[in-house]
Point group: C2
Chain length 282, copies 2
């Protein structure tokens, strides 16, 4: 527990080390696996930390294998941390045939409803426990943290940044779910995790957080124009409207012809990492 972790694998890549690690989480009550890339500049001292939160169905491995982040992270001197998207294991309540709830769909929140409240606590897991573990185990300058993510992980990045503007200096997203409390593919999950009182959902909804007064210096969002979830689940215009209303600068790129996959994400990964680095390294 605490700062104890085991190394699952380590490989040199792009001059740095791509590792996969596992620890027993007291927050989720399960073993948790995560990936960390430490670029070569770590030999000269602590480096900024950029958190990447993944989307529905993903583990730490999807972005590690398909995200193409190592070249840019090594060029910029930024550590990349990729957590899992939910607790997993036999004792964790799940709906194996439902990709929008349960395993792979933790939505970066702390569930309040039985039987989910025991294990589904990805918000506290990342913000408290994994953050402390990363600080203790890696050459990380925790005064310089940024956060980004994809889809459900874009939702995670936006909401965590809005709730911790003191901690995160930069936030961006690929095709984020900007208002999960009103999207068909996320409402059932929020109800199961948080109950039927929708006012409780607003703490895990980027647009609602902005409406309720949370602020962040600026956001960068890339969205594929051929994303099949664009008009139903993602709806970046809702974020644009909320940001304009709140005076939060938002750079929103609609990328014509790109879908929701890592073929899209990897195309703009280097742009996002450079954007974060400009804010984390200055």
């Amino acid at each position: 527990m605490g700062a104890t972790m085991e190394t699952v694998s380590k490989a040199k890549s792009h001059g740095g080390v791509q590792g996969v690690y596992r620890h027993d989480s007291r927050v989720t009550g399960t073993p948790m696996t995560f990936a960390v890339f430490v670029p070569p500049q770590a030999a000269q001292g602590p480096l900024p930390v950029l958190w990447y939160l993944s989307g529905l169905t993903c583990t730490h491995a999807n972005v590690m294998e398909k995200g193409e982040y190592r070249a840019a992270a090594a060029a910029q001197g930024v550590i990349i941390v990729a957590p899992d998207t939910s607790p997993r294991g036999g004792e964790v309540p799940d709906e194996p045939d439902n990709w929008q709830f349960g395993s792979g769909a933790g939505f970066y929140l702390d569930a309040t409803q039985a039987p989910y409240a025991t294990h589904y606590r990805m918000y506290s897991y990342i913000v408290d426990e994994l953050t402390a573990l990363v600080a203790a185990q890696f050459p990380a300058d925790m005064s310089r943290q940024g956060i980004f993510g994809h889809s459900m992980g874009g939702h995670g990045a936006l909401t965590l940044a809005l709730k911790h503007p003191d901690r995160f200096r930069s936030c961006s997203a690929f095709a984020p779910i900007v208002q999960p409390s009103t999207a068909d593919w996320s409402r059932p999950a929020l109800e199961k995790y948080l109950g039927t009182d929708e006012s409780a959902w607003r703490a895990y909804d980027a647009v609602a957080l902005i409406e309720d007064g949370k602020r962040f210096p600026e956001f960068l969002v890339d969205q594929g124009g051929a994303d099949p979830f664009l008009d139903t689940g993602l709806r970046p215009q809702l974020l644009a409207d909320a940001c304009r209303e709140a005076g939060i600068p938002l750079t929103l790129h609609l990328r014509e012809g790109y879908d929701h996959s890592y073929f899209f994400i990897s195309t703009f990964m280097a742009d996002h990492i450079a954007w974060h680095a400009a804010r984390l390294c200055r």
Copy 2:
């Protein structure tokens, strides 16, 4: 058959199109799947073709997902073709528990021994049938072809280049099996595919082909220094010795700390693509 193929998937990536295609191969007698990345420059006319041959256990998908080749291919204007590594399917004789033979281990040869000779014909499949299909279906300038690959696919790239110096203008490899006829992990496969007369194996062995008089203008090889197969299966020094003896320029980079995985390959992928492009685009 012939030039008929179906599109399995297509996604925009790095400005180009990453596709996966399937066709009924008359050479292997099975459906065959392969990946092609067409960079955006194809709108201006036919582009050079760079073949990537994968290693043991791989399909077309490993390099497509983990190879990080699209950024460099789009920057250089080179089409990347990634074939499968063997025929597959219920009618194909296989040893499912043996990763060094059968499915995923076609060794880019034409088997001569029953029952393998019917389907295991990856040499003719790539050199004849898939080449014709690519020429017919993609904006490819077939007068400008290069070839590279990893491990068993490095063996494939070296042997195909040595046998077709008229066709391929450039050849490189990541951690290639340079002399499969003397390595423990490949000898059993060659015996099953080609029979016990080892003189027949020399046609599918890069070092033996060079010893027997085949030539190629130059080779580029990257090899991880922490590759667990370095001293037993790969032995790049054997290629270096043969090239020196034959007067073939070989650039051999021993990369300290790198293993045999795509974490290694992806690190040097852009270097290799630029090296090929310098020879294919001039």
